[in-house]
């Protein structure tokens, strides 16, 4: 089986979209293109209950084939990783499930196997999760209400990179923020294997209550096909051949 690259969009937001197309629809489209959409909703520290607006978080992830979680600021670091890893396993499990169906017939899936055999299949899934390449585009909501959360977001993204780079497979990360100054999204950090070097702080926050989550997701989707990405992967390939020399 050829090991492909897993593509994910990680949306970090604290509110409801209010402009442009329905983010769930865009997420469904992304999912069709092989891009998983994960969503993390951040709560205010003093919020005791989930505001109704955050229901959208779950909806987007559901139609994007991804994972969603709603957390307080303090738990963000750990959540970012859990969500990313869970979504990887979920995607890979989907792939393995399809293979299983081809071998064992349309009715068979991982859940239909007895526990003993399931263990062996999960080992394969785990192997794939460890060795596959991963591209994560992080899309951060930088509307005014996110102001005091952005330092934590930045920290948790560095942490994500530490975790993912402990894997055997290769990683690429990019960070975009929305709403952008002129466009739907602004580039904060271009595709790179590591995030430890994020020195640029998130751009100045946009005041006003616009949260165009849908258009931002759509724009983010296009970033996966960009030339710069292919080129940088080629470069990485060359260097990897050297490394493989020992």
């Amino acid at each position: 089986m050829k090991k492909g690259t897993l593509k994910q969009i990680l949306l970090i937001t604290d509110g409801c979209s209010n402009k442009g197309e329905d983010p769930s629809a865009v997420a469904a489209l992304a999912s069709q293109q092989g891009i998983t959409v994960n969503v993390i909703g951040i709560l205010e520290d003093d919020q005791s209950e989930d505001p109704t607006g955050l229901q959208e978080v779950e909806d987007i992830a559901m139609s994007g084939g991804g994972v969603s979680q709603i957390v307080f600021k303090q738990a963000l670091s750990q959540t970012v990783q859990t969500v990313t890893k869970q979504a990887m396993t979920q995607t890979l499990q989907g792939v393995v499930n399809q293979e299983l169906k081809q071998i064992l017939g349309p009715k068979e899936s991982l859940e239909e196997l007895p526990p003993e055999q399931r263990g062996e299949v999960m080992e394969v899934v785990e192997d794939l999760g460890e060795t596959c390449d991963l591209e994560v585009l992080v899309l951060v909501d930088t509307s005014a209400s996110m102001h005091n959360k952005l330092p934590t977001v930045q920290e948790s993204l560095i942490d994500l990179s530490v975790s993912m780079n402990a894997r055997i497979g290769r990683n690429r990360f990019a960070i975009y923020s929305f709403p952008g100054k002129k466009k739907d999204i602004d580039k904060v950090f271009d595709w790179s294997p590591r995030l430890e070097s994020i020195s640029s702080v998130f751009p100045k926050l946009t005041s006003g209550g616009i949260t165009p989550t849908g258009p931002a997701l759509k724009e983010a989707m296009y970033q996966f096909g960009k030339k710069s990405l292919k080129r940088s992967f080629l470069r990485r390939d060359e260097s990897n051949i050297e490394e493989a020399g020992y």
Partner: protein, 332 residues
């Protein structure tokens, strides 16, 4: 409804019965033992025997944990952790499927409670036991990963440290599956999250620190400095300082190295223990010299005449011998 709680929404209450879909075993739930990122653990009863049952709606995660428990079985019986008894699925009355596994119920005290009750000297000894187990695990190609105080219990007979949650156990060379920030060297920016023996040793050192800082502490802007300052300022850990320092900075390549250092410290500690308690000075050596020289003239004055005795005694013996010899000569 709360989406986070919805995800772990397994509503199992004491008295409920869980029937296995595949192996048809019957488990009666007695009480909840704990709740983690992946599912909940319950005390249950089956055929009159108590066992721990972990149930989750995340089937894949359960399967992964079961895989780890199975490898433990291969490694060396059930010394390393609870042994695996059963793996199965359960379909609840509403038709939803959950995965669960049943393991041996280990009855014991939490590490911190145990040490507080039985004395601090246990901390080092239990860590020594832990290092032995870790060494075995590492030799089999695995790293424990999520090593933290909560995951360690002390069983009563024999008094032995055992680990209970194996969810973080990872093959060496891969990325750590599960961890807790405070015990994670990645969080402290002291190394990667790659599964290697030194990763576990860092966590073990943090377990020792955590015992004296049960509320944990923040890493601050320069994590390494914070950590070192805490280590230096924790007086009871002074004897272990060099050992903990080496573990935190990744100087130990294997748990055996650390075990050697730690057992040396523990063997040495016995005689310095009393002086430490009275002086409570971090530096053991100075307190020892101070005690030797000045403060207790009483014991000194008692000792010194005794030390002079031997010469007097031998003189007396010689005199007596001569006296007898003299008498012998006269009488003879």
């Amino acid at each position: 409804m709360n989406p986070t709680s919805k995800k772990q929404g397994i509503n199992v209450r004491p008295g409920d019965v869980i029937n296995g879909k595949w192996h048809h075993n019957r488990y009666v739930i007695l009480k909840q033992l704990g709740q983690g990122a992946i599912g909940s653990v319950y005390l249950c009863e089956s055929n009159g025997k108590k066992a721990a049952l972990k149930i989750s709606d995340k089937g894949s995660s359960v399967t992964m944990e079961v895989n780890v428990l199975k490898t433990f079985k291969k490694v060396q019986g059930n010394r390393l952790g609870p042994s695996l008894l059963d793996v199965d699925d359960w379909i609840d009355p509403r038709g939803r499927t959950y995965s669960f596994y049943v393991m041996e119920y280990l009855k014991g005290e939490e590490l911190s409670t145990f040490v507080r009750r039985h004395g601090q000297e246990w901390l080092g000894i239990l860590m020594l036991q832990l290092l032995e187990d870790l060494s075995n695990l590492h030799k089999q190609g695995w790293v424990f990963g999520d090593l933290k105080t909560d995951n360690l219990i002390v069983t009563h007979a024999p008094r032995r440290l055992k680990w209970i949650d194996v969810g973080g156990t990872t093959q060496i060379g891969r990325s750590i599956k599960e961890y807790t920030e405070f015990f994670d060297r990645g969080y402290w920016q002291m190394g990667s999250r790659k599964a290697e023996p030194s990763y576990d040793l860092f966590s073990l050192a943090m377990v020792m620190l955590h015992f004296y800082h049960p509320k944990r502490f923040e890493r601050g802007s320069s994590p390494e400095k914070t950590l070192m300052r805490k280590l230096r300022n924790t007086a009871p850990l002074k004897p272990y300082e060099s050992c903990i320092y080496k573990a935190l900075t990744g100087k130990y390549m294997s748990s055996d190295q650390m075990r050697q250092d730690l057992s040396m410290i523990l063997m040495q500690r016995k005689d310095t223990n009393t002086s430490q308690n009275t002086a409570r000075r971090p530096n053991v050596q100075t307190s020892r010299t101070v005690r030797g020289n000045t403060p207790k003239p009483n014991t000194n004055s008692k000792k010194q005449p005794r030390q002079e005795h031997p010469t007097l005694e031998s003189l007396a013996i010689i005199v007596v011998v001569f006296l007898f010899y003299f008498l012998y000569l006269i009488l003879g």
